[in-house]
């Protein structure tokens, strides 16, 4: 497996500027209808994904990362519903597609590496059949010999031996299953791959291998990726830009180095500070989770109840996401 060279900040800045936008999300809203009101799981979120970049999506549990990913794939499960916004993939608004048109876009243009890939493979179907299913759904029936060759090549791309071809999911280790999912995701050369916590539930060494597989695949195929996760260490290794979500809103987007060295949003600052370090024991700054009910967000800034710098305006006006410096977006009143 090749390990890609790490980028320098300058390298990133110059290359990302002129890139094409693959995915453009505008004012996306996803609400879950509950008997006691709508849960605003994703509330007015906008961001872009550029050609062949990896963007990381982080934020605490329940902040709406998976919901955002599912909305892009148009797979939000009831009682959830996309209640507003646009999802432009290569210029097509996915939010308006239905039926066959939607099925055509799926996997052809965007693929998913699901959260908990452990249970994402059909337990009674061999790996080759599951990959073949995706290929044949879009390209029609294939000659057996070419199909087999193609699948074995895909498996090799993610570093899996060809014997995996005829195996059932339960015969694979967690890391192998995850890589089989990656192989399946790139089968049709999509322009966008969404990986939801691709390394959670794996041990640290396997996490690294899977992370490197993702990087390798991105380098070779030039696909764009959204990688969701909690693990800031993995993010540092993997992504070009980092998007930070809090309680259904986007609070900061910036190149990953910038986020680590100069986080601007108070939530991001707390997040970075609480990354555990072996060299130095720190008290946890973030002690509790969400302090408000997602059904009933307070007026003004979403982070006001936990923010150490809260002022009067934060309780009245919701700060919009603004490009404060070049390529560094923050939603905070502190910088006005």
């Amino acid at each position: 497996m090749t390990v890609s060279a790490t980028h320098t900040v300058g390298d990133l800045e110059s290359s990302a500027k002129n890139r094409n936008v693959v995915l453009d999300i505008r004012n996306l809203k996803v609400y879950y209808a509950t008997p006691t009101g709508n849960v605003r799981a994703v509330d007015d979120v906008s961001f872009q994904v550029y050609e062949s970049e990896i963007i990381g999506l982080v934020g605490e549990s329940g902040c709406g990362k998976t919901t955002t990913a599912m909305a892009i794939l148009r797979l939000v499960q009831p009682p959830g519903r996309i209640t507003g916004g646009q999802i432009l993939l290569d210029g097509t608004d996915l939010a308006s597609l239905h039926g066959q048109a939607l099925r055509d876009v799926r996997w052809n243009q965007m693929a998913l590496i699901p959260q908990g890939a452990m249970n994402s493979l059909n337990p009674v179907m061999k790996i080759n059949r599951q990959i073949a299913d995706a290929i044949e759904a879009h390209e029609g029936r294939q000659p057996a010999k070419e199909l087999k060759e193609r699948i074995i090549n895909l498996l090799a791309t993610v570093g899996l031996p060809s014997r995996v071809y005829g195996m059932y999911p339960h015969e694979l280790s967690g890391g192998m299953k995850q890589r089989a999912c990656i192989a399946m995701a790139i089968a049709l050369h999509p322009s966008l791959v969404i990986a939801d916590e691709p390394t959670s539930a794996l041990d640290v060494v396997v996490q690294r291998v899977v992370g490197e597989t993702l990087l390798d695949v991105k380098e070779r195929l030039g696909v764009s990726m959204i990688v969701i996760g909690h693990d800031m260490g993995l993010m540092a290794q993997l992504v070009d830009r980092l998007a930070v979500m809090y309680a259904g809103r986007m609070v900061e987007i910036a190149p990953v180095e910038t986020v680590f060295h100069e986080p601007l949003h108070p939530y991001t600052q707390l997040l970075i500070e609480s990354i555990p370090s072996i060299k130095q024991r720190k008290p946890l700054k973030l002690t509790e989770g969400l302090t408000h009910d997602l059904r009933n967000p307070p007026p003004g800034c979403i982070f006001q109840l936990r923010c150490p710098h809260v002022t009067d305006i934060c309780r009245e006006v919701n700060p919009p996401l603004r490009e404060l410096r070049s390529r560094h977006f923050v939603a905070c009143h502190l910088y006005e």
């Binding site: 794939l73 797979l75 499960q77 939607l102 099925r103 055509d104 876009v105 799926r106 996997w107 052809n108 693929a111 998913l112 699901p114 959260q115 908990g116 890939a117 452990m118 249970n119 994402s120 493979l121 059909n122 337990p123 009674v124 179907m125 299913d133 995706a134 759904a137 879009h138 059932y168 339960h170 015969e171 999912c181 399946m184």
Partner: protein, 336 residues
């Protein structure tokens, strides 16, 4: 994947023989636990019932000789096991000198024919109804009419039977009210006879199918709903597969697994017949025979039927054990 190893087959067949041996032993022991001489007790009970039994001395003699009741228990037991092994189930107490094995041999084909077909139809229709009830994409008009097919489940078996006889046999005169085939027909593999068997079997079969379908449908519905939340179902949709493909290969294929176990058990139980249905339709199968045995306190006949039932069920379990790994790859031949 371990194949069907000789060791596995040997162990399963061993278990099968053990079950049948245990069943036969219990049938041997129970009458002997009753105080006094079992044969004399049975004959005196018969005498009490009918006042006088012809040839009773000869009958006691015959039974004594038959079981060697004068000999020590292990000789009796040895002789008993030997005759059971050769399917020699002795004389009927109530209709001496008929032999139990001959009576069962006459009844068994009727029951097997009627119930196998009815249970299999019920299994397929019931599971399909259940799966469609649970599937989100089931067209509205089908969805509206599905629950109606299950209302008959709450009607007791015999009530429905009587209702069917009243409506279709006495009212509309479409089907005969009782029996298994028309009078004066030559029993054998000829078209008039087969036609008559189907004609006579329709009402009993319908009453079994209609009343047992709900069992399969409700089980399947529950499994499909549980299965729908699985990650591989979401991934299947994300792959852009056709809805039918998701339904059959990912939904039904996984949900049917526990149903197959239940099917094997109910097919095994078929050997005992369906007493109520066969009684109501005067159908000359095992259930009707069991009814006659109970009414006439024909212990040898009841014992014979119970033995066949034990043999049938354990054979079904044996076949299930040998075939199940083929439909669920997670169950391997090497384990268990």
């Amino acid at each position: 994947m371990g194949g069907l190893t000789p060791k596995y087959v040997l162990r399963r067949v061993g278990m099968w023989l053990l079950t049948i041996w245990l069943g036969a032993t219990i049938i041997f022991v129970i009458p002997r636990l009753a105080p006094g001489d079992p044969v004399a007790a049975m004959v005196s009970r018969l005498t009490a019932q009918s006042g006088y039994v012809e040839n009773s001395a000869q009958m006691i003699e015959a039974w004594r000789a038959r079981f060697g009741l004068d000999g020590p228990w292990y000789v009796q037991y040895y002789n008993y096991l030997r005759s059971v092994l050769t399917l020699d189930l002795g004389f009927s107490l109530a209709s001496f000198p008929s032999r139990v094995d001959e009576m069962i041999a006459q009844a068994l084909p009727w029951t097997l024919g009627l119930l196998t077909i009815a249970v299999i139809i019920s299994f397929f229709v019931g599971n399909l109804v259940g799966a469609l009830m649970a599937w989100r994409r089931t067209p509205g008009w089908i969805r509206a009419f599905l629950p109606a097919t299950l209302t008959f489940t709450s009607i007791p078996f015999f009530m429905l039977g009587i209702l069917l006889i009243y409506l279709f046999a006495f009212g509309l005169r479409w089907f005969p009210p009782s029996g298994a085939y028309g009078r004066g027909l030559e029993i054998g593999f000829n078209w008039p006879f087969i036609k008559s068997v189907i004609y006579y079997g329709t009402l009993p079969a319908i009453s079994i199918v209609v009343t047992s379908m709900g069992f399969w449908a409700l089980g399947m519905r529950g499994m499909m709903i549980t299965n729908d939340g699985e990650d591989y179902m979401i991934l299947a949709e994300a792959k852009g597969l056709a809805p039918q493909r998701v339904f059959w290969s990912y939904g039904v294929r996984n949900s049917i697994l526990p149903q197959v176990t239940a099917l094997a058990l109910s097919l095994g139980g078929i050997a005992g017949g369906s007493t109520l249905v066969e009684y109501i339709f005067a159908y000359p199968g095992m259930g009707y025979l069991l009814y006659l045995g109970i009414v006439n306190t024909d212990y040898t006949l009841i014992q014979g039927i119970v033995f066949i039932l034990i043999a049938g069920t354990s054979t079904a379990v044996l076949l299930l054990d040998l075939l199940y790994p083929l439909i669920d790859p997670r169950i391997t031949y090497s384990k268990g």
